[in-house]
C-alpha cells in the first residue's frame, strides 16, 4: 500500500462551478471551486466536497457522538463532546422519569466522568449544542477504552455499511462504538489489536488499499 488518493490543499482549484456545486470544505469564487482544507476531494451527485484530513469536530443535528460528563449542574449535565463547544444535556432530554429536584441528586443518572453515547438534538447560534438521550442508540458506556481519531475520518473507520468496523470487531472479538465526534469506545477481548487497527485507519485514511492492510494487520 503506497498509492495515495489525490490530496488538495487550501486555495487549490478543484473544479469549475459550471459543472458542479460547491459542497462541504469548498467555496466558490469567480466561477471556480476551491478547497478550504487539506483533504480528499469527493464528488457526489451535483456537489464536490473536500473531506478534511484534520480539524476539530463541528456538531450537526442528529450526529451520534460519544461524550464525557464534565459537570453535573442543577438542571442537567455539561458534556465534553470533543468540539470547541460543550454539549448540554437537559434534565428532560436526559431522563424519562419525573424528577423532583428537591429530593433527587442528578448524579444518580449521570455522574462526572461518565461516558455516554448520545445524539445532537439541536445546534443553536453561538455554539449552543443541545444533546438528547431520547433516541434508541443512546446509552451509558461502562468500562472499555476511549481513543480519539480525526473526526473527519470517522466514515473511513466505519466503512461501507459498517464493513470496516465490523471486520475489526469480528477479528478482535470486541464491541466498538464510534462517535461521529471522533471519539471511539472499545471494549472486549483483544482491545490492543483493535486500537492498533483504528489508529492505522486514522493515519492512513487517504491511502488506497486500506481495507487490505487492516485485514492483514488483524489476521
Amino acid at each position: 500500500m503506497n498509492k495515495t488518493r489525490e490530496i488538495v490543499i487550501p486555495g487549490e482549484k478543484i473544479d469549475n462551478a459550471k459543472s458542479v456545486k460547491a459542497g462541504y470544505g469548498t467555496y466558490e469564487e469567480d466561477g471556480k471551486i476551491f478547497s478550504k482544507f487539506v483533504g480528499i476531494p469527493k464528488k457526489s451527485g451535483d456537489f464536490i466536497s473536500v473531506i478534511p484530513l484534520s480539524g476539530v469536530y463541528l456538531p450537526a443535528i442528529n450526529d451520534k457522538i460519544i461524550a464525557i460528563v464534565k459537570d453535573v449542574e442543577k438542571f442537567g449535565w455539561i458534556l465534553d463532546i470533543n468540539s470547541p463547544w460543550n454539549g448540554f444535556l437537559s434534565l428532560s432530554e436526559g431522563v424519562d422519569d419525573y424528577v423532583d429536584l428537591k429530593k433527587v441528586d442528578l448524579k444518580r443518572y449521570f455522574n462526572k466522568d461518565d461516558i455516554i453515547y448520545t445524539q445532537v438534538k439541536e445546534v443553536r447560534n453561538g455554539g449552543d449544542v443541545q444533546m438528547t438521550m431520547k433516541t434508541s442508540i443512546a446509552r451509558k458506556l461502562k468500562g472499555g477504552v476511549l481513543i480519539k481519531i480525526t473526526p473527519s475520518k470517522v466514515p473511513r473507520l466505519i466503512g461501507k455499511e459498517g464493513s470496516m468496523v465490523n471486520m475489526i470487531k469480528e477479528k478482535t472479538n470486541t464491541v466498538i462504538c464510534v462517535g461521529q465526534n471522533g471519539i471511539v469506545w472499545v471494549s472486549g477481548e483483544n482491545i490492543k489489536k483493535a486500537i492498533k487497527a483504528i489508529r492505522t485507519i486514522d493515519e492512513k485514511s487517504h491511502m488506497f488499499g486500506l481495507t487490505d492492510e487492516i485485514s492483514n494487520l488483524l489476521s
Binding site: T4, I7, I9, P10, G11, E12, K13, G25, Y27, E29, F34, K36, F37, V38, P52, L53, S54, G55, V56, L58, P84, W85, N86, N125, G126, G127, S152, H206
Partner: protein
C-alpha cells in the same frame, strides 16, 4: 549583525553568494508539535520558526468571544537566544506590532464563521533570527493553520524584498536587513495574487518600489510550491 561599511553586492552577487533575486535554502516540515492541532517548522537560511496552532477552542477571557464568528489570536515571539544579544522574555513593542500585522495577514483569509465563541491561537516562536523573521513566521503559520484543519481561502506566503547598494533583492538576511536602503516584508495569497501584509522601511522611488512589489509577488509561487509539497509529504510516507 550590525551596520557595516562593506559593499553588500559585488559582481552581481550578494555576500552569501546569492544572486539579487535568489532565496536562501528553504526547509519546511509539517506536524512538529504533537500536542498542537497543527504545527510546522520553517527555515530560510539561518532564520528558523516553529508554528503551533491550537483550536478552534473555547476562547478566554470570555469577553473576547464573538457570537457570530471565531477569532484568531496571534503571538509572534523571539526566544531569548535567537539573537546576538539576549532578548528578554515577554512581548516587546516590536513583537506586539508584528503579532498584529501577522493577524491581519490571515484574518480575512480564514473562514471562522462556523466557529462562534471560539478562538484559534497561532503561536509563532522564532528559534533563530537572521533577518526576515516575520515573513518566515507567516510561511510557518500557513502550514500550521492548514495542518490544524482551519478552513482557509488561500495559502499565505511570506517573503521580504529590499534594496541594497541600489539593487533590488529578495529574502534579506540579518546583515542585509541592517545595511539596506529599504526592506519590505510582504504576505501574498499565492493563487489569488493578492497582498495581505505589506510593510516598508527605507527610501524608494515609487517606480522601484512597484518593481520590488512585483518581484515579491512573482517569487511567491515558488515558496507556495514548497509549502504544498511539505503538507502533502505529511500524508505520504
Amino acid at each position: 549583525m550590525g551596520k557595516t561599511e562593506q559593499k553588500m553586492i559585488a559582481n552581481g552577487k550578494r555576500l552569501d553568494g546569492r544572486g539579487p533575486l535568489d532565496l536562501r535554502e528553504i526547509e519546511m516540515k509539517v506536524g512538529v508539535i504533537p500536542n498542537a492541532n497543527g504545527s510546522s517548522y520553517v527555515r530560510f537560511g539561518k532564520t528558523a520558526v516553529i508554528a503551533g496552532v491550537y483550536g478552534p477552542r473555547p476562547l478566554f477571557p470570555r469577553f473576547l468571544r464573538e457570537s457570530d464568528t471565531g477569532i484568531l489570536k496571534v503571538r509572534y515571539n523571539m526566544i531569548p537566544f535567537s539573537v546576538d544579544d539576549r532578548k528578554r522574555p515577554g512581548p516587546s513593542r516590536r513583537e506586539t506590532e508584528i503579532s498584529k500585522v501577522i493577524r491581519m495577514a490571515f484574518e480575512g483569509n480564514l473562514f471562522l464563521k462556523n466557529y462562534p465563541q471560539t478562538g484559534v491561537n497561532l503561536y509563532l516562536e522564532v528559534i533563530e533570527a537572521d533577518g526576515s523573521t516575520r515573513v518566515t513566521s507567516i510561511n510557518a503559520a500557513s502550514l500550521a493553520l492548514a495542518d490544524a484543519g482551519v478552513p482557509m481561502r488561500d495559502f499565505v506566503v511570506g517573503l521580504s524584498g529590499g534594496k541594497i547598494d541600489g539593487t533590488l533583492i529578495l529574502d534579506l538576511n540579518g546583515l542585509e536587513d541592517n545595511n539596506s536602503d529599504a526592506d519590505m516584508p510582504m504576505a501574498v495569497l499565492p493563487t489569488k495574487k493578492e497582498v495581505t501584509l505589506l510593510q516598508m522601511d527605507g527610501r524608494m522611488n515609487p517606480e522601484e518600489l512597484k518593481d520590488l512589489i512585483k518581484h515579491v509577488i512573482d517569487a511567491s509561487g515558488a515558496i507556495y510550491e514548497k509549502q504544498a509539497e511539505a503538507l502533502r509529504k505529511k500524508y505520504i510516507e
